[in-house]
């Protein structure tokens, strides 16, 4: 009941919870009552065209886009995971040249994973910003889009060079799901949560956030193998979360109305 009533407006939530408490309704009955009200409220909100436009033009394209990036990242890293796991030798650590190679590989995969997590965080933040009242529904639609993306997403590379890797179900099916859960679902939930906690995001932050998400969309048809492109996409992906951390630290150190907060003009 508590969780469900959170999607109601604060005043209405209090009145409804009070009515339930006063009438002494049991758990199941109270749950049905609150669910009925939430459904009616959501239905009324979705009678307007704007939530639909946001859903079809922002939430679902971002869901499809991030699902594709997640698959691409998972398959790209799977090749290296398999390569090192199946051919492991201490030389990779003891020999200078091989160690550098390993380090380069770890850094590259780590940057890709971090970029994916940062983009997912940004998407969660944006979804929760569209409209607080339809945020639950938008969030649910985003996760459904991700789920749909698992079986219909880009399939494992069918190059004969990688056949041995993707013949194993772990690399072709399990790893993409793990990547999507850990690096997409969890960070986007975190982003949604941060949006509800972080009031008054500065205009600079919004600009950076949208630029970052535009980079995500632009990156979809591009060759992910190019180093310059990977660096650019990593920087773009990490910017919003990095900026939010920087602003939060600044705000904590210098509570408003300290002049240093004005360095970044707020809403």
């Amino acid at each position: 009941v508590d969780l469900l009533s959170r999607s109601l407006e604060p005043d209405e939530r209090d009145a409804v919870r009070g009515d339930i408490e006063e009438s002494g309704e049991t758990g199941g009955q109270a749950l049905r009552d609150v669910a009925g009200l939430v459904v009616r409220r959501q239905a009324a909100l979705w009678a307007d065209w704007r939530p639909w436009m946001a859903l079809f033009l922002i939430v679902m394209p971002l869901g499809i886009g991030i699902a594709r990036v997640a698959h691409r990242t998972a398959y790209g890293s799977a090749i290296y995971f398999w390569l090192y796991a199946n051919n492991w030798t201490p030389v990779y650590v003891t020999d200078g040249w091989w160690r550098l190679n390993l380090l380069r590989c770890v850094t590259s995969i780590g940057a890709d994973f971090l970029a994916l997590a940062c983009w997912s965080w940004s998407i969660g933040f944006v979804i929760a910003s569209l409209s607080r009242r339809v945020a639950w529904m938008n969030g649910a639609c985003f996760f459904v889009t991700l789920l749909i993306g698992i079986p219909f997403g880009p399939q494992a590379r069918h190059s004969p060079w990688h056949a041995a890797v993707f013949a194993l179900p772990f690399y072709s099916a399990v790893l993409p799901v793990i990547v999507q859960t850990v690096l997409v679902v969890a960070p986007s939930l975190w982003g949604m949560r941060e949006r509800s906690r972080w009031k008054g995001a500065p205009a600079t932050f919004w600009a950076v956030l949208w630029v970052s998400l535009m980079l995500l969309v632009i990156s979809l048809p591009m060759n992910f193998g190019l180093l310059a492109f990977r660096v650019a996409s990593f920087a773009g992906a990490a910017m919003p979360a990095g900026l939010m951390i920087a602003i939060s630290v600044r705000r904590r150190r210098c509570p408003e109305p300290h002049p240093c907060v004005d360095l970044i003009k707020g809403e």
Binding site: D11, A15, V16, R17, E21, E22, L37
Partner: protein
Amino acid sequence: MLGEFEYLMLTAAVRLAEEAYGAAIREQIARATGRRCSLGALYTTLDRLETKGYIKTWMGDPTPQRGGRPKRMVRVTAKGVRAASEFYAAVARVSQGVSWAEATPEGH
């Protein structure tokens, strides 16, 4: 013209006067009709009536028997009183000369 549930709600609110709020109106309607009134129906109808200008609502003070939560208080406006009395008059007019005790359903 009012709907029947809207009429029931306005009537319950007028009867309760200063004590008209969500749970009390709900109880009045359940007692009068013998049917449970859902929270969804109650609050969406309250919103509709307020939009039409038939009632005015505001948040009351928190009370201990409600776990420290406030009530959504309701007051019927002059426009609401007019609408309810018009509805009642229409029901009275259309019912004139009809005896439900003697009426027989079609086909019997």
